[in-house]
Amino acid sequence: MPRITITVDGIKYEEDVEPRLLLVHLLRERLGRTGTPVGCDTSNCGACTVMLDGKSAKSCSVLAVQADGCDVVTIEGLGTNGTNGSMHPMQRAFHEEHALQCGYCTPGMVMAAIDLLRNDPEPSEETIRQGLEGNLCRCTGYCNIVRAVRRGAQEMGRAVNTP
């Protein structure tokens, strides 16, 4: 069984993995990161989106062995110490703008939102909608999600600009 080294939310792990083990199952079942849900079986929904070496990836479509040596950030690694008081600005914006109903898609939405700001820190509504095209909200609460991403982007810009 291949042995991999993987950094998840800043912690380094060494794991023996079956080649067919999906990254999302490694995260959830072995490393306890149940904040990353499995939504679909077709790579459509984006609920399992994580950052893989700094870029968004659907963790149901990556083998754990492919992530050997990589750095993964899940929704649980965004806040500074995992409590409400230290939520990431994008998480806080989703909370403030009521950008979730059932909440199942939210971890993936937040990761995709942060990812789209890499290329455009001040995105238009159109850019946000395009950037989230791989993430489905079956409660269809997209209007509030788009608002939240805008607000999160503003907060993140402010955080960067504040000395």
């Binding site: 080649p19 999906l22 968004s56 149901c60």
Partner: protein, 284 residues
């Protein structure tokens, strides 16, 4: 679902990867995995072994090469879409690749993987065909070139042989005067094209001097709309172009599935070819 069991190797060179693939007819090459992993999860494929070529530096990057652009098989869709070399030298590729799936998949999915997968519903095969791209296959014996017209053999089947991997693709640059458009009709944002049309058009004095049209999802392989291409030669923008584009589906055998019946696909091909040709000709 969880994929069936398979062995996994991560060779350190292209030669070693080819050896692994040559020695086992049920082995499959794994690049970004964005087409292969969904197949494995749905248990539509049962490879004995995955040969992970995803880290081979020899297959990476996009390179300017005079009369063509060389796109390494492992260049990701995201990388190709943002490449200044691609945007300048073969803009049709940049336009189409930006419409492949969604941002997260474009970060992992590779240009070569998506072509070697040979899915007629994929966006890139029709583009490669329309641009007369040249596929470079690597094996233990060295490299060989395969013209796009000979690369796509059947549904999900390319002319790559056992022990060969796709190393890269050469996209010939078309000179000044050409315009491009990729028109995709799909049900939801990241879904496959029900029908797609890749068009490259050279205009001269208000009429079309030359057109190349590749069709997505209009048969078991991507196809060229030869009849429409011939009818477009010398056609004036307006009625003549409209009549020529009505030939787009001639000779095609489009599939029937839950999204569309063949007659509807033929209708789409005609309408979308009209849109793609007009947009490529700069006539909206």
């Amino acid at each position: 679902m969880i994929p069936a069991q398979f062995d996994y190797v991560r060779p350190g060179s292209v030669a070693e990867a080819c050896r692994e693939l040559a020695s086992d007819e049920d082995a499959k090459a794994l690049a970004g995995g964005q087409s292969l992993l969904p197949f494995l999860r749905l248990r539509l494929a049962y490879p004995s072994k995955l040969v992970d070529i995803g880290r081979l530096a020899e297959l990476k990057g996009v390179h300017e090469r005079g009369d063509h652009v060389h796109i390494g098989a492992l260049a990701t869709h995201d990388e190709v879409m943002r490449s200044p070399v691609v945007n300048a030298g073969c803009p049709l590729v940049a336009l189409a690749v930006a419409q492949v799936a969604d941002p997260a998949i474009r970060h992992r999915g590779t240009f070569g993987g998506s072509l070697a997968h040979a899915d007629p519903a994929g966006d890139l095969p029709a583009v490669a065909l329309a641009l007369d791209a040249v596929f470079v296959a690597a094996s233990e014996q060295g490299e060989r070139e395969i013209p796009a017209a000979a690369f796509f053999v059947d549904y999900l089947e390319s002319s790559l042989r056992q022990g060969e991997i796709l190393a890269g693709v050469r996209i010939p640059k078309l000179g000044a005067g050409w315009g491009f458009h990729y028109e995709k009709f799909h049900r939801t944002a990241q879904a496959w094209a029900i029908v797609g049309v890749a068009a490259a058009v050279r205009r001269s004095n208000g009429s079309i001097a030359e057109a190349r049209i590749g069709l997505t999802n209009m048969g078991p392989t991507p196809v060229r709309a030869h009849a429409a291409e011939a009818a477009l030669r010398g056609a004036e923008l307006g009625d003549q172009v409209r009549r020529a584009c009505a030939e787009a589906a001639a000779g095609t055998a489009p599939p029937a599935d839950l999204h569309a019946q063949p007659d509807y696909r033929r209708h789409l091909a005609e309408v979308l070819t009209g849109r793609a040709v007009r947009a490529a000709a700069g006539a909206g």
